[in-house]
């Protein structure tokens, strides 16, 4: 890469020479507009309506009725094979559900191997269920930081993505969550904002859902009792 090194030094030399003899207006940080101050209920309702506007199903539940709501959705959608992460809190819950009432849940699959050895299986599951790190009320977004347990492709390859969001992790806006959670000190290899199912309007501006990623996104918002 020695060629690239000399390219680098030529580009940087040009830029620094210009920079040293140029005047730049001093940067003054803009006064950020006051963030909205919504109650939890308002945040939930804002997230729900914004996500529903882009074809997302948002279901409000609590710790007690989550299982039954979840089972109903899985059944209604006719999911035959569901991908989940065994070693998460959500995973244990689903595992128990399957133990208790085996015929209420479809066949479960887990992402145990690296993608190179698991590609065919991943491309053949009908749906996945993942946890989320949080939500953003203003734009109707889910925050996902994929992990070893819930790898990046879990929320992309299966045609249906079921996501579980804890109501108390919904933030007002993107700026707030970056600051509060100190993202700049701990960025993961991949961080995602997901704000609906995959969509396109490239053919005559006609909106079509499910072009490359999931065609359906279902969000279970869990409010603690």
């Amino acid at each position: 890469m020695s060629e690239s090194v000399s390219q680098r030094s030529r580009i940087m030399k040009r830029l620094t020479t210009i920079h040293s003899r140029s005047q730049f207006a001093e940067f003054r940080p803009m006064k950020q507009p006051n963030p909205p101050s919504w109650t939890l209920k308002e945040k939930i309702s804002r997230l729900k309506s914004t996500m529903e506007a882009v074809h997302t199903e948002v279901l409000l539940c609590n710790d007690l009725d989550f299982s039954s709501v979840f089972q109903r959705v899985v059944e209604e959608k006719g999911i035959g094979r569901l991908l989940y992460a065994r070693n998460t809190a959500l995973g244990s819950q689903i595992y128990l559900m399957k133990e208790r009432t085996p015929n209420k849940l479809p066949e479960l699959a887990t992402y145990d191997e690296s993608i190179e050895n698991w590609k065919e299986q991943l491309f053949s599951v009908d749906a996945s269920v993942t946890e989320t790190r949080g939500g953003i009320a203003e734009t109707g977004s889910l925050i996902l930081w994929p992990t070893e347990e819930e790898p990046r492709l879990m929320s992309l390859v299966p045609p249906i993505h079921l996501a579980v969001l804890k109501a108390e992790t919904i933030h007002h806006n993107f700026s707030e969550v970056i600051q509060k959670e100190k993202w700049s000190e701990q960025m993961p290899t991949n961080a995602l904002l997901i704000s609906g199912p995959s969509k396109t309007a490239d053919i005559e501006q006609t909106l079509v859902y499910g072009v490359h990623g999931p065609s359906q996104l279902v969000v279970f918002v869990i409010q603690s009792n």
């Binding site: 890469m1 060629e3 690239s4 994929p146 993961p188 290899t189 704000s195 609906g196 005559e204």
Partner: protein, 480 residues
């Protein structure tokens, strides 16, 4: 796709004028653009309904981009440092040839035969697809719009909606002829489903993913991609190698710089409060992780940008976040479409970028293709003074070639301007002229010498029988 049939851009004033005339006479093309552009204009208006709120938002976005320019060398070094620390390999390219070679070397080292591509305007600048094709590597566009035009061997006609010049019937015919002869795809839903099936296979098989970069965050070494389809996530996650291509101006200082840029980008581009995916990549797969590329490369391309950086006004071209709002609102672009320009970047941003990338002597004529109405300046989310830059480029273009310097050479023009000065500084002469034009002006045939050149592409104005002065005398002024 054999290389010789790949589209190329040709820069010539003559062919620009010919293609413009051709486009203006194509009613289908004009309908397609008119419909699409008015749709995009309306969507943008809906997402920014409050003018003063939008002003506040774009003040912020513009300030973030201006901060980048005021610290560009330092931020690029910081970005490089943090990317490398995260395991992203950073490459620098002064020219598109060099950038192509870097990508090819990476591909050859890993014996890549098939690459999937997310949307990247820098890759269009590089002519990357054609280059890889020549070297035996298939590069498949996976953004639906880009895929459609790649199948039809065309260049994008819009930087956000590359296939906007085609209507449903045209795309349906294309699918039946070139994508799947058994396809009965007629609706947008059916065609999208067909493309999904074909491209899923490509994602599955590809060894390399190529992508652009919307913003690169220096403080964390994070590459950000904004998209709706999910193809960008596929390209940057599934193949074992990911190569991201970006212009050196796309760096921002911190994560906190992202929110205003993201909001103004998605709102200005497609009238969305946010896109489906905002993908932030800070490194290849780590120990224990089950997916993600094993290698992530970042190619930083200059291609004329450091030269733009030199001049205080021209530098502002580098503020651009490639939203396309300037073309959506441009009366010229809306009428002639993107292909007539024959450049990677069409519309207002193309008119100021291309002459600076390709050289004023080769592409300076593009700066003339504007009425300077300023619609682009009003909507630009980062406040680029496009019309001022156009005027500067016109000036530079005129002066780089003395033959075009009309005020030096053209007596007729001097004569006309002197006449104009006399008439407008002597009320008596002015009244005589106004009276004459009012009575006889409409009898002037289009073929009148001098006038005919102006009237070649325009309708002659109708002169009113009564001058404005007379009307005011008669009717008074209504202050409402």
């Amino acid at each position: 796709m054999p290389p010789e049939t790949m589209p190329h851009q040709t820069l010539s004033e003559k062919s620009f004028l010919e293609d413009t005339a051709k486009a203006l006479k194509d009613p289908q093309l004009r309908r397609n653009f008119k419909r699409a552009m008015s749709g995009l204009v309306a969507k943008r208006r809906n997402v920014f309904p409050n003018a003063s709120e939008f002003e506040g938002l774009r003040e912020q976005a513009s300030a973030v981009r201006r901060k980048t320019l005021s610290r560009l060398p330092e931020l690029l070094e910081l970005l490089e440092f943090n990317c490398e620390r995260n395991g992203i390999r950073v490459h620098w390219a002064e020219t598109t040839e060099e950038a192509n070679r870097i990508v090819l070397d990476i591909a050859n080292e890993a014996e890549v035969r098939l690459a999937v591509k997310g949307k990247s305007m820098v890759s269009e600048e590089m002519g990357l697809n054609a280059f890889l094709e020549e070297h035996g590597i298939e590069a498949i566009e996976s953004d639906l719009g880009e895929y459609i035009i790649q199948v039809d061997k065309e260049l994008p006609s819009h930087i956000i909606m590359p296939a906007i010049h085609k209507n449903l019937e045209e795309i349906s015919k294309l699918f039946q002829e070139k994508v799947d002869s058994n396809s009965t795809s007629e609706t947008a839903e059916e065609m999208t489903a067909t493309a999904r099936k074909i491209l899923r296979k490509k994602f599955h098989d590809a060894d390399m993913g190529l992508s652009g970069v919307n913003f690169a965050v220096a403080e964390t070494g994070t590459l950000c991609l904004v998209e709706n389809e999910g193809n960008g996530r596929f390209c940057t996650t599934l193949p074992k190698i990911h190569v991201a291509l970006m212009g050196i101006e796309k760096v921002v200082e911190s994560l906190q710089d992202l929110p205003p840029l993201l909001t103004t980008l998605t709102g200005s581009a497609t009238g969305q409060p946010i896109t489906t995916y905002f993908n932030m990549i800070s490194g290849p797969r780590r120990e224990g992780e089950k997916d993600g590329p094993h290698e992530v490369h970042l190619v930083l391309l200059d291609n004329g940008r450091s030269k733009m950086y030199e001049d205080e006004l021209l530098r502002e071209t580098l503020l651009c976040i490639r939203c396309g709002a300037c073309m959506n609102h441009c009366p010229v672009y809306t009428r002639i479409g993107g292909h007539a320009y024959n450049t990677v970047y069409p519309g207002p941003i193309g008119k100021i970028l291309t002459p600076q990338i390709k050289g004023i002597e080769n592409a300076g004529y593009l700066a003339n293709a504007s009425s300077l109405c300023g619609a682009c300046v009003e909507v630009c989310p980062v406040q680029i003074p496009i019309t001022e830059i156009l005027l500067r480029l016109r000036h530079n273009w005129t002066h780089q070639n003395k033959k075009r310097h009309w005020t030096d050479k053209n007596r007729l023009e001097l004569l006309i301007w002197n006449g104009w000065k006399q008439v407008f500084s002597k009320p008596g002469l002015y009244r005589i002229q106004a009276g004459l034009l009012g009575r006889l002006g409409n009898l002037l045939p289009k073929q009148t010498p001098i006038l005919s050149r102006w009237a070649r592409f325009r309708s002659l104005p109708r002169f009113s029988k009564k001058s404005l002065h007379r009307l005011v005398e008669e009717e008074g002024i209504d202050h409402e």
